[in-house]
């Protein structure tokens, strides 16, 4: 069978042309793929392999086309000359392909290893970043703490500290010895417990002071294991200065509270005792008009009783347990009156200056108490300037944003009337200043001062819901600032009632009074006084007896005069029960100490009438007359 040769030639020519272009396209594609990732060694290798295969296809196609061309042109001799070169060229490409093929897997492995290394490196980097993040996070937590934290190795070397610690001890440095940095010592502190803490593996908490700071710290020492396995001590120092100050203030407040409670109890009994002394002395004075010697003796008794009564009043005042009779007050008027009175009492070498705000707000306060305060401060100022100086009293409206009362530690905000009493006297040192509001603390000596003046001022101001700050330094004078809350609403007329008149003649009456008093001597005195002034008196020594008498005397009683603090039913409860039956009955409370039964923080409820024990006959009858004839 004879097969035509032209199909062979046709396929050869067309195949060569096609292979030529496919090879070029392959090289181009491979080049592009390789360039997409220049660091990829396998892609680079694949390009080289493709280049070798492409070179083979191009070289061979070119050779075959030349061959077919030469044979077609009838130049077989020429082809015979070229043929060995063409063959050799093809052979060369075969060898090249073989050479590349040997490294095919090797390149692939290198690529995989590089990929794995890159991945491992990326993972390591990610871990490093994560570790750094964790460190930064923990560092932020430690640096955000208000506690100072540091870690000491068993060789006393500091190997960690936070921001707060750096602030406290600026010389803090890693690797330095703790005793050198914290105590500036050449060897470990004598009381160092590092070894014992690490040995016993126990936490210890103690008070500590850093050399560079005057603040007090609670140092918690915790044994722990460091990241390298070594034993270290973690120290957490918490600033407890403020807490300590608060504790001291609390202790002080508790002390004052105890004194106040004691004072309240004493005041009740002493006032009950003083009431008949004063009362009977007064009555005796009325009878002893002709006997001068007896009158003088009675006056002396009365003076002593009054002094004792005043002492009790002061104790009650500083312990914030006295009854305040508040009314709307113009502090400027009050200061002016005191200044007038005080001007005559002062030495000539003392200059009194007043700076009073024209538009000063009014306050709700007990006039006598405020007078007492200003007088007391003015007297103190005068005494602080034996060689003369300037006493200044200023008033002004202030609105505090966030002030602290240095005497009670409370923060206070709002509108206040500020009274400033300043002197250019000797001033006080820090030690005296710390105790200045303590009762019975005086710098004037026993003859001149009772030690109750500023304690009383402190008590009265705080009972008025005000605050007091004292600024002083040795040889720099003293300034006392008193803040009294401004009056936000006009007080009702009832609280403004002022007991006036001492005309005993007009105090006679014929009304029926139910007298309830557990103290027999006080009760007898009151009966004597009231009967002397014409009143009908029904006596009861307890609340229970009073209830029985009320039901017996049904609706004939005009006024109940009752003690407040009594065994069993107290005065408030008694009045409550009686007024439930007779709502319009008049009531007058009397007490040496009310224990807040009829007053809130010492301020009487508006409708309550009260007389403080001890009282003299005229005060009692005056008060009763006023109540009975007020409507």
């Amino acid at each position: 069978m004879i097969a035509p040769w032209w199909p062979i030639i046709t396929v050869d020519v067309l195949g060569s042309i096609t292979a030529f272009f496919i090879a070029i396209r392959c090289i181009h594609l491979s080049w592009g793929w390789s360039n997409k990732s220049p660091d990829d060694v396998f892609r680079h290798y694949a390009f080289m392999l493709t280049l070798a295969i492409g070179a083979f296809a191009i070289f061979r196609s070119f050779g075959h086309l030349v061959k077919q061309g030469l044979l077609f042109a009838g130049w077989p001799e020429t082809w015979q000359m070229i043929a060995p070169f063409s063959g050799a060229g093809n052979t060369m490409t075969f060898v090249t392909i073989f050479a590349f093929s040997i490294y095919f897997d090797r390149q692939r492995q290198v690529k995989l290893q590089i990929d794995q290394s890159t991945l491992a490196l990326a993972e390591a980097n990610a871990q490093k970043v994560e570790a750094q993040k964790s460190y930064d996070r923990l560092r932020s937590i430690f640096d955000g703490m208000e506690d100072a934290v540091y870690i000491v190795t068993e060789n006393y070397q500091i190997n960690f500290f936070n921001r707060k610690m750096q602030e406290l001890v600026p010389s803090m440095e890693l690797g330095k010895s703790c005793f050198a940095v914290l105590k500036e010592l050449a060897e470990p502190c004598e009381d160092c417990n590092l070894a014992s803490i690490l040995r016993e593996d126990k936490n210890i908490s103690r008070e500590f002071t850093f050399l560079s700071s005057d603040r007090k710290f609670n140092l918690l020492e915790i044994p722990m294991r460091w990241i390298d396995g070594t034993r270290v001590k973690l120290n957490v120092a918490r600033d407890i200065t403020f807490q300590k100050e608060l504790e001291e203030q609390l202790l002080h407040a508790q002390k004052l509270e105890s004194i106040g409670t004691l004072a309240g109890g004493i005041a009740h009994d002493i006032n009950n005792a003083l009431t008949p002394i004063l009362g009977y002395t007064e009555l005796a004075l009325l009878r002893a008009e002709d006997n001068e010697a007896l009158t003088n003796q009675l006056i002396e008794i009365k003076r002593c009783a009054k002094r004792s009564s005043e002492m009790i009043r002061r104790i009650l005042a500083f312990s914030k347990r006295q009854i305040l009779q508040t009314r709307e007050l113009d502090i400027n008027e009050l200061v002016k009156n005191i200044a007038k009175m005080f001007q005559s009492l002062m030495e000539e070498n003392i200059t009194l200056k007043l700076y009073l705000a024209e538009d000063l707000e009014r306050v709700s306060a007990d006039q006598s108490q405020i007078e007492q305060i200003i007088t007391n401060l003015a007297v103190n100022a005068r005494d602080a300037m034996p060689e003369g100086g300037t006493l200044m009293i200023e008033t002004m409206n202030v609105s505090t944003a966030d002030s602290i009362c240095l005497s009670c530690g409370e923060r206070f905000i709002g509108p206040y009337v500020l009274i400033v009493v300043s002197d250019s006297g000797a001033g006080m040192n820090e030690k005296i200043k710390e105790r200045i509001f303590e009762p019975y603390f005086t710098t004037k000596g026993n003859e001149k001062g009772t030690g109750l003046g500023l304690a009383m001022v402190h008590g009265i101001i705080h009972q008025h819901e005000g605050h007091i700050n004292l600024y002083t330094d040795e040889h720099m004078g003293t300034t006392v600032k008193i803040f009294i809350p401004t009056l936000t609403e006009k007080l009702s007329q009832e609280t403004e009632k002022v007991i006036d008149g001492t005309d005993t003649e007009s105090n006679y009456g014929s009304e029926t009074i139910l007298l309830v008093e557990d103290d027999e001597s006080v009760r007898k005195l009151a009966v004597t006084i009231l009967r002397k002034f014409g009143y009908q008196v029904i006596e009861a020594d307890s609340g229970e007896q009073a209830i029985e008498l009320v039901s017996t005397f049904n609706n004939t009683i005009d006024l109940i005069l009752t003690d407040v603090v009594m065994p069993g039913m107290n005065g408030k409860q008694l009045v409550g029960k009686i007024q439930a039956i007779f709502p319009k009955i008049h009531v007058l409370y009397m007490s040496g100490y009310t224990n807040n039964l009829i007053a809130s923080h010492g301020i009487l409820e508006p409708e309550i009438e009260f007389i403080q024990k001890p009282f003299v006959p005229s005060e009692l009858t005056n008060k009763i007359h006023t109540i009975l004839h007020s409507n």
Binding site: G15, K36, I97, R108
Partner: protein, 165 residues
């Protein structure tokens, strides 16, 4: 054709000495100039010798392809590798065809051509070997698909956004 031999070198001294390099070089140059023979090594390789080296090239090509084929098996059916594997198989087939064709070029099959006016016009197929020889000359029918598979593999690799892992 006698294999060219180097002139022998002998010495007259009783105790043989090792010839010096210079002496050997001079002797070689002299022999080349004074007694020239055919130097096959520096002539173009036609004929059987050229064919043998070419066939060895084919064998190396095929060996390389086989090596790659063995290694590629582990890559599974990842994008492009399937096409590349087909390229490798066809490259082997092509090598076998062309290797055989070249071998038979010098054999009796080559005597069965019909020549007209110095041009091959036909081939007389007398047996299966003759048929195989005739078909082996159509090797482009294998080579072109092989190259197309390579092109496909490269296209797939090039489009694939995923890195080779």
């Amino acid at each position: 054709m006698p294999f060219p031999s180097f002139p022998s070198v002998s010495t007259t001294s009783a105790q043989p000495e090792r010839p010096k390099i210079n002496n050997l070089l001079i002797t070689a140059i002299a022999a080349t100039v004074l007694s020239p023979v055919n130097g096959w090594a520096v002539q173009p390789h036609g004929g059987a010798e050229g064919l043998v080296s070419h066939e060895l090239g084919h064998l190396l090509f095929m060996l390389g392809i086989v090596i790659m084929l063995i290694k590629v098996r582990g890559y599974g059916r990842e994008t492009g590798w399937s096409a590349f594997t087909k390229f490798l198989w066809l490259a082997i087939v092509w090598n076998i065809l062309t290797f055989s064709s070249h071998w038979m070029d010098t054999g009796s099959a080559a005597d069965n051509f019909l020549i007209f006016d110095g041009q091959k016009t036909g081939f007389q197929i007398q047996n299966f070997l003759g048929l195989f020889y005739y078909l082996s000359k159509l090797d482009h029918l294998v080579l072109i698909p092989a190259l197309l598979y390579l092109l496909t593999a490269l296209k797939l690799w090039s489009r694939d956004v995923k890195e080779i892992s």
